[in-house]
Amino acid sequence: MELRGKKVIALGERDGVPGPAVAECARGAGAEVVLTLTACYV
């Protein structure tokens, strides 16, 4: 799936790739980030 032009929910996780890092990748691919979250499971 091509991300360019898509609206992306960046759903990262504290123990994985955080939301802002996922969002940067999405923007780099030409997508519009409409929500950035970093889940945290303890």
């Binding site: 609206k7 929910i9 996780e13 790739v17 890092a21 990748c25 997508a31």
Partner: protein
């Protein structure tokens, strides 16, 4: 996924409609499957705002080759590459494939 996060995802999906894609950064197969299920079929714990709400959003993981190929190499290197080396990428992507298989059969 926390209740507030579920509410935020539901709000954004309602606002933007079918053009929304979810890009995950989850660290293992279990969390990948759980989050994918939540945004595709609804909250599996039936506790949050997405309980019984099948958003049906397309789900990708930032470790997938088809995603990585679209991200500028310097961005991917700076944001993701270190975690990709330290996590079990194959298991994560297997979890995502399983979530997609389940979604396709329900």
């Amino acid at each position: 996924m926390g209740l507030e996060d579920q509410a935020a995802v539901k709000r954004v999906a309602d606002e933007h409609g079918s053009g929304v894609v979810v890009l995950l950064g989850t660290p293992d197969a279990e969390s990948t499957q759980t989050l994918a299920q939540t945004v595709v079929a609804g909250d599996p714990s039936y506790a949050g705002p997405l309980a019984g709400v099948p958003l049906g959003l397309p789900v990708l993981h930032v470790f997938e080759p088809e995603v990585r190929d679209q991200v500028p190499a310097d961005v991917y290197e700076a944001q993701v590459a270190l975690m990709e080396m330290s996590l079990d990428r194959d298991a994560i992507l297997a979890g995502l494939r399983e979530a997609r298989r389940v979604a396709a059969t329900t």
